[in-house]
Assembly symmetry: C3
Homo-oligomer: 346 residues x 3
């Protein structure tokens, strides 16, 4: 999509490390899969098991791990982690599209808010009172920022993001379209035969280097803040209820629902479609499979899955038992017959 | 977040009832948890089991139940239901932020629509033809109201809500950002080897005192209306398909999907992540756990859970059986050995 | 909702085929259920089993199958597939609301983009640079189209749709509010103890005759395009991750999550709330029940359900076994007693 400029392999390793085998003046301008690469592309071999893909590639150069240093004659960069190296090369070739600084004439900025000269506010965006934007912040077209919102430097909100009053995002946030930050948490109390709404007076506090996928919702807290710590990465259509805390560098895949006051530890990985119950505590570095139903706290880091969630060994054992239920029934029938035979004998 | 004005305990009980023990002139201006409260805060003790939290609190006053009347020396309000009382105090301290009446100059109002003087229409909002807004309605920035939409008095649509043509909301609605009301239901019929779209000519009819969470979708009906009755409370990212009816005062947590023509009775409580199949009838006052898969009607009120859903007693029994499958297998193995021994004997 | 003009039965069959019994001059102007129809309505009998609904109907005319030709005295149209016929009559009566061609004065169109005279761009919409719109395209209020987006002729984007730069939609697309097309796929690589973002440089390529429900998200590809083929129909709140391919004429119900690089064959039907794991291949014409958890590829077309997914026969068998676990336990207890008795004897 983007028109990347050309880099010689020598320029790449100068920035990213690694070792060149072949002509260091080989120039490439974009990353591609080995299958679809052309001479202007640099491909990568993520695992030795995909080596045969190297045979037919038309890539101009490739990134390989140390074990695959001799798996091709193409100009190549040898490194420890080809997948990560490829990501970094791609990042070099494909910087995020720039946005012209300035406030679009159709945007609305309320009084008490100063937009830094380096910031960009897109068409039709609305910025409330006393909002604080850091340097280089990009607010996409049609975004809504309520009063007293704070967005740290170098953050980008894509088009049509909503941030309710008083919510705070750190630096280098990347927020995708349709995201809603700071809507009321779901707090209601029975008052006779009707629901009484509990005001949600907490906010949302989001650290730095957080990415939030399209149409994800992060509710404001009931009394205190909902907290997303530094480096958290979230996919699309995730529901973060009030007073949840998501620990630093945790990654959450699409369609996950985390109920109120659940605390997710640091560096967890949560698979898509998983539901986590309210008030659960999830230990740091826990890995949860997709479509898991977490019905209580997970105190010990490990890999979990199933409905209800259990550690992956128990889960695998249970799944095997379930799949063999019919053979178990067969054994039961066999026993009953043999027992009847015995009973007749004695 | 909001700057609440000060209330003396005497002023609070005058409005909300309850009994003061201690100095009735004690003034507080905000609610807080016992843990984080300061002298300007009133805290609350929701259950006697949390009594120890009272010991260290720095709150200026607390709300307690009759059983805990002597659990603290702090100025206190004694009442029947501290949680509900706290909600009401919070509501007193934190009224919804007001919006200045008037139509923002960047909003678009089509002909045939009259905006009441008491209503507020935010920046960039679009209001179609022949729309009817009640007194004091607040339409947030960037909202879209199609032709002939009706919104009852004192309703608030937060920023970026979409209401398709002809849909109707009652009074005191609270609709959060990203909500879509009245998109086409998913109606298609096979025409040979292609899908033919069935026009969705019903509308959406929403009662009074309904709250709808961020990015929730309520589809219009195929022939008749999709109906949300009075007092229904919905969380985020909920999918209400065409011709669903949700009974009065039912509460639905986040990420629930309700398929077409399902009828949910009054005063049900539906946990997060639950799926309810099309055409299911759910009895009034049914409670459904989170992540339940409801595959058929529930005719008898009770508590349900599991995949597929069953009443909570059966569910608990099944879960216990499942967890003990390995011991069952162990018993089976033991029997087989004993039986072999017997067979050798006779 | 719409004011449909009147059609005589003779005019209807002239366009749609079928056979009239009764007065061909009977005029109707709208479709309705048999229960709620009045003289101006044409109803339909989808199945013979609903015949008793014909007795009380006040419809002016009805659509019936050949088996039900004599089930009523009302003027009627006899056809092979009353449900499809009804859909077509409804489509005749209820054409999509027209939109006046032209660009609303509050819309923003960047340079390098030419809006066809027959196209309509709504209030507050933003159209980036070098965007290509086909004839008769309708872009709703508040939509965002990034640079170089392409939308085929006769497509309609309802209000507040987001299409990121470079994404392409075919002809006759129908996209509902809140949809996000082309947000970054969820691509991250571990770099020591932090996540490194992998640029998502693929796009989204959507064929013709595709419908996309409210708040659904379709991510752009990591290196190559995410692809939605012709005739695909999608409901609300669906998550399509990067590099997914959805085959032609597949229908996907609400709240489905399809993880990265999964390939769904042509003409599949996927029930609501289903999760499909990354890299899974799903055979063409596969039917998947709602709330299914697909944990691996499905190579053989058929009907599948359960968690984890299995073919419907195995699933039914497993469900029956599970439901009978307690009787199985009972049999086990009984065997243990009998065996003890035997052991005492010998």
């Amino acid at each position: 999509m983007a028109k990347a400029k050309k880099y010689r392999l020598a320029q790449i390793v100068e920035r990213l490390g690694g070792e060149i085998i072949g002509n260091p003046l080989t120039a490439v301008s974009q990353v591609a899969t080995l299958e679809n690469a052309g001479p202007q592309h640099i491909g990568f071999l993520s695992h030795s098991k995909f080596r045969k893909q190297l045979a037919g590639t038309r890539a101009g150069a490739v990134i390989v791990g140390r074990a695959d240093v001799d798996a091709t004659d193409l100009p190549r960069i040898v490194c420890d982690n080809p997948y990560l190296y490829f990501a970094k090369v791609s990042s070099l070739f494909n910087p995020p599209p720039a946005a012209s600084p300035g406030v679009h004439p159709t945007a609305v900025v309320e009084r008490g808010t100063r937009i830094p000269a380096s910031a960009s506010v897109g068409a039709g965006a609305y910025i409330g009172r006393s909002v604080k934007l850091g340097k280089g912040v990009i607010i996409g077209a049609g975004c809504y920022l309520g009063d007293a919102v704070e967005i740290g430097a170098a953050s980008r909100l894509h088009a049509r993001v909503t941030v309710y009053a008083g919510c705070r995002l750190g630096e280098r946030a990347l927020v995708h379209s349709g995201v809603v930050i700071g809507a009321d948490g779901f707090g209601i109390a029975l008052d006779g035969d009707r629901w009484f709404k509990i005001p949600q007076i907490g906010g949302v506090l989001i650290g730095s280097d957080v990415e939030i996928g399209a149409n994800t919702c992060i509710d404001r807290g009931a009394l205190e803040d909902t907290v997303i710590e530094d480096g958290v990465k979230m996919d699309n259509l995730i529901h973060i209820a009030h007073n949840v805390r998501v620990g630093a560098h945790t990654a959450i895949a699409g369609c996950v629902g985390i109920a109120g006051s659940a605390h997710i530890g640091e560096r967890c990985m949560i698979g898509g479609g998983t539901n986590i119950t309210g008030h659960a505590d999830i230990a740091a570095r826990t890995i949860i499979h997709g479509a898991t139903v977490v019905t209580k706290s997970i105190r010990t880091a490990g890999t979990y899955g199933g409905n209800p969630a259990e550690d992956s060994r128990s889960w695998a054992k249970h799944m095997a038992l379930l799949r063999n239920l019919d053979s178990l029934l067969e054994r039961l029938r066999n026993i009953e017959q043999r027992l009847s035979t015995q009973e007749k004998k004695t």
